[in-house]
Symmetry: C2
Subunit: 235 residues, 2 copies
DNA sequence: ACAAAAGTGTTGCTGGTACACCCATGA
DNA sequence: TCATGGGTGTACCAGCAACACTTTTGT
């Protein structure tokens, strides 16, 4: 069989927008580039898609290299294809966003790749169109988390309600009434209360919860309308 | 400056999932391929992304060629990148979905490209992974239309409430109570009632409505929770 | 005993759903 | 006058938002 002789072949990369939550603040994992072009500028972690791998596989590989983590929540965001987005040579980029528990992250890998956590509201200038990618990822996270229980991917297996509240408040950059919040969360049937308390945050201590895996799938839809659309939080 | 010498360059195509509504039924625009590979098999309309164009531009171009329409609602859906998805040579495909008013569609262009409208529930086998693309587009349409007023893109400037109801019922493959439906639609403030009636559907005739452009942007969010999540219609 | 954070209940209101009949008209 | 599809109103119920005080315990 003949190949598609006359067509243009294009470089394809993946770039990962990695969100990490530490119980207090939402962060983004950025790297300082150790190579040209744009050496020493901040960028997202990325890499070219190779011959024998899908973009998903490439993204998983990169994420593993960067964070040491397997089984990370990873979702394709958007493909950026402006011909001039990379000044060296035309390169498309398939952007992915990832959600990880910052505390599980391995520090030594961090150092090896010049990677750093940056608070989401203090992101520096980024190369190419990476700023646009981050903006889109933030929007998508808000949008999706209002409808699906994906934010749990940012937490450890055991977490407290005050921490969960912090997380939602970071994502939506607003504050929620904790009584209503707790009630709503519990009404989803997704959480199981543990006997153990976290005493680091207060004298009284806050109960730990964990996801109820059985009900997780079944109650996915209960998150619909989870964020009451107050004042256009959700686009 | 040096180029990225050692990296693999890949063919990149766009494929369009084109939805068209005729007042009764939702349809998909398919073509019978006139060239190899898979000559005479059904496929989505697509084409390669060329050197000087973005994927968006390529999709707009293809859509214009296929339907004769400008200003079509077009949205990037997903990038399919499995190495073996095209048996001839590795080709990534950036899938787009489009919403058009079937009645504005130009028949002669249809013939030129071997294109045909196929009712959404009678889609034949498609080449490559196009079936997966269609399935994803259908999901996305349901998902998004539950939250945003995008289905109006499938209607002419003037339309009746019964037709709108048909449209929603086609998309969600279910039936809605027309009293509740009408009330809900009107409560969004998006529609203006016209004096004119459509008499083709009944003796009494149904009033035409048009979008209130002023309120369209402002009331976008009112669609939140538009489809009451009855029995997991929305994933 | 006090400071600091965790946890809990009630009320009013809004908005959703279920449901059945009358209206206008052309044939 | 009748058949066909268009249009409307009500009553019940669920779920959301607003709101403030009590509990626990370490220092």
């Amino acid at each position: 069989m003949t190949k598609y002789q006359k067509q243009t072949r294009i470089l394809v990369a993946v770039d990962c927008i990695v969100f990490g939550f530490d119980g207090q603040t939402m962060n983004l994992l950025l790297i300082k580039r150790g190579f040209e072009p744009e050496r020493n500028k901040w960028s997202l972690m990325g890499g070219f898609v190779e011959q024998e791998e899908s973009a998903d596989e490439a993204a998983v590989k990169i994420l593993k290299k960067l964070t040491g983590l397997d089984g990370v929540y990873l979702e394709q965001l958007y493909t950026f294809s402006e011909p001039l987005r990379d000044p060296i040579e035309r390169t498309m980029s398939i952007a992915y966003f990832a959600l990880i528990d910052k505390n599980q992250y391995e520090k030594q890998i961090n150092d090896e790749y010049n990677a750093e956590w940056v608070p989401l509201n203090k992101v520096p200038n980024l190369i190419f169109d990476h700023k646009k990618m981050v903006a889109m990822a933030k929007e998508k996270l808000k949008y999706k988390a209002a409808i699906h229980p994906i934010l749990f991917e940012l937490l450890p297996a055991k977490f407290t309600l005050p921490v969960l509240l912090n997380l939602f408040e970071s994502v939506y950059d607003t504050s929620f009434d904790k009584r209503n919040f707790n009630r709503k969360i519990m009404s989803t049937g997704l959480l199981l209360k543990l006997k153990e308390k976290d005493k680091t945050g207060s004298k009284k201590g806050a109960f730990y919860f964990k996801l109820d895996k059985k009900h997780y799938q079944k109650n996915f839809h209960k998150f619909l309308n989870f964020i009451p659309n107050p004042n256009g939080l959700i686009k």
